[in-house]
């Protein structure tokens, strides 16, 4: 059996031989493994052999061996500067592979849009009220100043259950229900489903969503209505949106108005525009000062209080905002449509 120094001499020669032949970092790594490899490295094996020696022998031999190990490590470090090593031991993955995805549900666009509207009004101190979808003729029409048999009812084509009951054609009956219960000041919005006896076409369906607003207090004016609605529309469509107020007619407001916004699709530049029909304007809501007769119907003194109200179709406004061409998309519930709104 060779003595330890002899073995070291032999391995030093081998190390130097191999080191002189190194061409790349792969050769260098092989050399490192050959000498310092955790299981079969020459040095590792030499250290193994120390186990069989007596304590005194072990101490002496260990010192010689450690010197040699330091020598090898020093040489390897020098070589590493010539052939730099990657930091990690190995590239295990293609880092460009797709990551794990979390599947989130998508909100319905109408919920999303209603929520946007609610937030704007809640920030102005409004609270949200609701009411029944099955209504009586009194709340849906009479209390709102629609005389029986008046042609004004034609614009609110109604689905009836029986002589007394109907599906509400607008959210306005909730105005009456709230004013019956509560005395001014009132500052509310009323979102909800409404129903009309309409045949389906790209902009009409027998069911859709509305949001209604109502303010009742002393000294409320048409100027307040204008200011609030202008703020609301700008908050919804952006500061630069142009809008106009136009006289209109609703039995429950006097004066009545409709509000148009500039056509978002063509900005009035396309006379063939599919969205605005070339007028450059798109009607988005109806509004007005609460008719004194409506106040009388709920025992609020119209001499003491005044108020404004508005109503807006959520579906049609969402169509404008998201450039959706057909209202029926909202109710087909095609996931390829709905899931887009996760990126709202």
């Amino acid at each position: 059996m060779n003595s330890l120094p002899e073995k070291i001499k032999k391995y030093r020669q081998l190390f130097n031989d191999l080191a002189s032949k190194i061409k790349d970092k792969k050769d260098l790594e092989e050399l490192r493994q050959a000498f310092l490899g955790r299981k079969k490295g020459y040095l590792t094996l030499l250290f193994e052999e120390l186990k069989h020696l007596s304590p005194e022998e072990k101490k002496a031999a260990g010192s010689i061996l450690n010197n040699f190990k330091e020598e090898v490590q020093a040489s390897l470090s020098k070589l590493e500067q010539k052939y730099p090593m990657p930091r990690a031991e190995k590239t295990l993955f293609d880092l460009t592979l797709p990551g794990r995805k979390t599947y989130w549900g998508a909100p319905h666009p109408l919920t999303l849009f209603q929520r946007k509207i609610e937030k704007i009004f809640i920030s102005m101190g409004f609270s949200v009220e609701e009411g029944p979808e099955i209504e009586t003729d009194y709340y849906n029409f009479e209390a709102l100043n629609f005389p029986p048999y008046h042609p004004a009812r034609d614009s609110w084509d109604t689905l009836y259950i029986n002589d007394k009951l109907l599906l509400r054609t607008h959210t306005s009956p909730v105005q009456i229900r709230v004013m019956e219960k509560k005395k001014p000041p009132i500052r509310i919005i009323i979102p909800g489903k409404v129903f009309r006896r309409e045949t389906s076409d790209p902009t009409h369906l027998p069911m859709f969503h509305q949001v209604e607003g109502l303010v009742v207090d002393q000294g409320i004016t048409f100027a307040h209505l204008k200011g609030t609605l202008e703020y609301f529309i700008k908050a919804l469509f952006g500061e630069k949106i142009k809008l106009r107020f136009r006289p209109s007619f609703f039995p429950f407001t006097e004066p009545s108005a409709e509000v148009d916004i500039e056509c978002i699709a063509c900005h009035g530049k396309n006379s063939q525009c599919r969205v605005c029909g070339g007028t450059g304007w798109k009607e988005i809501l109806g509004a007005g000062l609460v008719d004194p007769q409506v106040f009388k119907n709920v025992n609020i003194d119209p001499e003491k209080y005044s108020g404004w109200a508005f109503g807006l179709g959520i579906d049609r406004t969402a169509m404008l905002a998201y450039e959706i061409p057909e209202i029926r998309y909202f109710y087909e519930n095609d996931l390829r449509f709905l899931r887009q709104f996760i990126r709202r």
Partner: protein
């Protein structure tokens, strides 16, 4: 309403070019829906309102423009070429119902020649989209679309006697209309009859037998006023809508009747006719002009701006109102009969605002004297509920509230459905009594369009008769899961949905909403597969159900894949007060974990085991969770193996191993006696 530019020029000296006129119409609320060129004329399609019958003629629209533009309104004189005979010698008129026919005017024109209309009249007809028929019919329409006063012209020679009786129809009477329809009349309908039979349906349509033909030489012109409600009821009942009924329903100017007859007769004289002497005018109960006071300060109080008195006076006068009194601060106005909509101060203020210009009124912030606490938190809770479901990977849908009664039958929801009296179609003729049928339709729709899995929810109302005549609507939540939850990816396998995905979503929902003590009790429902569904209770109150849809339902909808569904009554849920949130201190001392695996009879359901575990009376036990369960060949028959992890902790110190050993022995002994567990 079609308005012709050239026709307006009969009343106004318009200098504004036709293409610029639209904006003026819009400004006063006569919204221009379209504008087109017709034979050198410009025609505007204008939106009119149910309360403004005066804008259903060119004169009324011209008056609006005259007011806005400050132009004078031209008046016309209608000369007659008269016969020697007075009208009453040529025809006998009797009005038997003054309520339904408050005014009736008429004139006879004899010796005219029916023929094509002159070019100017043809152009007028074409402009408003009517076909020119002959000079007599066209004149009648020309007057109607000028004044808004509908006329009817009878062939005098075709009346059985020279008599007109305005009366209610008798039972069993019939009439052939000018449109060739045979109509059965009822006594609530007003007719124009000759001596024996109805010859016209008053204010709606004329009869065929007395209509104008090429041979007509002598005519009787009717220019009358009829009760709006009666006309509307009759027209609705018969499904008839004519230019005449459209105007009478809205209220025609009671004082337009004499002018209508005179204008028509004067024009017919141009075709060789001669008019009878003296207009017949039956108007027994003369209507007084309405008088409406206007407090000037109210204008500012309601509009938020001061408007000069000079502007007020000019506008109201131009609209035809008379200022009968102008005391300080209060004016009294007399309303012209053509403005049926003006009755109150508020109506006058609207007119002032309209002509002053809505866009000239300032915009101000609505002041708030106080802020009230929101009356209901329901909207907020509903939104939170939805957010929880989005996190569970469920997409939101919204379905119609209508249901197909045939399809609802398959479900047997147990509710008495509410039927619509006038549905849009038989397949949408009731209101839904469950959200699940809609969700199943959505699943089928999406499977037919490339979907491999559908996981959706909807919140909305269901409707039913609680008892005879007492309707109920209830806010529900429906959930459905079917097919693949995840597609296969390079590092994850594909996952099919199952019962426990849906149950998990519901449990999370209850937990986050703050509802504890939810129980799932196995129970059969008509639409779930037997033995594959559960009833959901909160503190003994049922709130919904959950299960696997039965194959018959899937077949009925052609839904192939296994589908699980759940419906919760949110009305009941939201009625319960959720637990109030208060923070729990974060532990200061480390806890200890011990696992226990045991065998138990398979028939003991987990809910029972859980209940017993919850009841454990063991010191320092903080919580526990089941983390493994298996049954199979290696186990004795009818036994399952469960593994439960127990977490122990002391609030003020670290626990000793012996203390936990004792606790575990305690747990084992309690479970042995309560559930007959065997240790593995």
């Amino acid at each position: 309403m079609n308005i012709s530019y050239d026709w307006l020029k009969e009343y106004l000296d318009l200098t504004i070019p036709p293409e610029e006129l639209s904006q003026y119409f819009d400004q006063i609320g006569l919204m221009v829906e379209s504008r087109k060129e017709v034979d050198g004329d410009t025609v505007y399609e204008i939106e009119t309102y149910a309360n403004r019958p005066d804008t259903l003629g060119h004169l009324g629209v011209a008056r609006e423009l005259a007011t806005l533009l400050g132009l004078p309104l031209k008046t016309h004189f209608w000369p007659l070429n008269e016969l020697a005979q007075p009208t009453s010698d040529l025809i006998d008129i009797q009005v038997l119902d003054n309520q339904l026919c408050p005014r009736y005017c008429g004139l006879v024109v004899k010796g005219l020649t029916v023929g094509p209309s002159p070019d100017w009249l043809k152009r007028r007809m074409e402009a408003i989209g009517l076909r020119s028929i002959n000079n007599v019919v066209d004149i009648s329409n020309y007057v109607c679309f000028s004044l808004g006063q509908p006329l009817h012209t009878f062939d005098l020679g075709l009346l059985r006697e020279a008599r007109i009786v305005v009366r209610r129809a008798r039972k069993g009477e019939k009439i052939h209309t000018l449109e060739g329809q045979l109509i059965e009349l009822t006594p609530d309908m007003l007719v124009i009859a000759d001596g024996s039979q109805p010859v016209a349906l008053a204010g709606i349509i004329g009869g065929e037998e007395s209509g104008i033909t090429e041979k007509t030489t002598d005519v009787f012109i009717e220019s009358a006023n009829f009760d709006p409600v009666s006309i509307r009821l009759t027209a609705k009942k018969l499904g008839l809508a004519t230019d005449a009924s459209y105007r009478f329903e809205r209220g025609v100017d009671i004082n337009a009747a004499p002018l209508g007859a005179t204008m028509a007769a004067s024009l017919l004289c141009q075709f060789g006719g001669k008019a009878s002497r003296g207009l017949l005018d039956i108007y027994p109960n003369q209507k007084k002009a309405k008088s409406v006071p206007l407090r000037l300060k109210r204008i500012t109080e309601l509009l938020g701006i001061e408007i000069p008195e000079e502007f007020l006076a000019r506008t109201l006068t131009a609209l035809g109102l008379k200022l009968t009194e102008q005391r300080a601060g209060v004016w009294v106005t007399e309303i012209p009969s053509f403005r049926v909509d003006l009755e109150r101060e508020a109506d006058l203020i609207e007119e002032i605002a309209r002509f002053f210009g809505y866009n000239q009124i300032p915009s101000e912030v609505t002041p708030a004297r106080s802020f009230e606490l929101p009356a209901s938190q329901e909207q907020e809770r509903l939104w939170f509920l939805k957010e929880i479901l989005f996190h569970s990977g469920l997409d939101e849908v919204i379905n119609f509230s209508f249901a197909d009664p045939e399809k609802e039958k398959i479900w047997q929801t147990g509710y008495q459905p509410i039927e619509l009296r006038n549905p849009i179609s038989s397949r949408a003729s009731t209101l839904r009594t469950s959200l699940l049928p809609g969700l199943v339709e959505n699943a089928v729709w999406n499977y037919n369009r490339e979907s491999e899995g559908v996981h959706i929810f909807e919140t909305g109302k269901i409707y039913f008769w609680e008892e005879e005549g007492k309707q109920q609507e209830e806010l529900h939540l429906g959930l459905l899961t079917s097919g693949l939850r995840d597609r296969k990816t390079w590092n994850e396998p594909a996952r099919e949905t199952d019962y426990f995905f849906l149950k998990g979503a519901v449990e999370e929902l209850f937990s986050y909403l703050g509802y504890d003590a939810t129980v799932f009790e196995p129970k059969d429902f008509s639409f779930f597969q037997t033995g594959q569904s559960a009833k959901i209770l909160i503190k003994n109150e049922p709130v919904g159900y959950l299960g696997l849809l039965k194959p018959e339902i899937r077949q009925a909808y052609e839904l192939e894949k296994l589908t699980f569904a759940c419906e919760l009554n949110l009305a009941v849920l939201f009625d319960r007060q959720p637990r109030t949130f208060i923070f729990t201190p974060v532990p200061k001392y480390p806890g200890t974990v011990r696992d226990l695996s045991f065998l138990i009879e398979a028939r003991v359901c987990f809910q029972e085991i859980y209940r017993q575990l919850k009841k454990l009376n063991v010191p320092y036990l903080e919580r526990f969770e089941m983390y493994d369960r298996f049954e199979g060949d290696s186990l004795p028959d009818k036994l399952v193996s469960l593994s439960v992890r127990f977490y122990f902790r002391h609030e003020f110190r670290t626990l000793q191993a012996e203390e936990i050993d004792r606790a575990m022995l305690d747990i084992i002994s309690q479970l042995k006696s309560a559930l007959k567990i065997q240790l593995r």
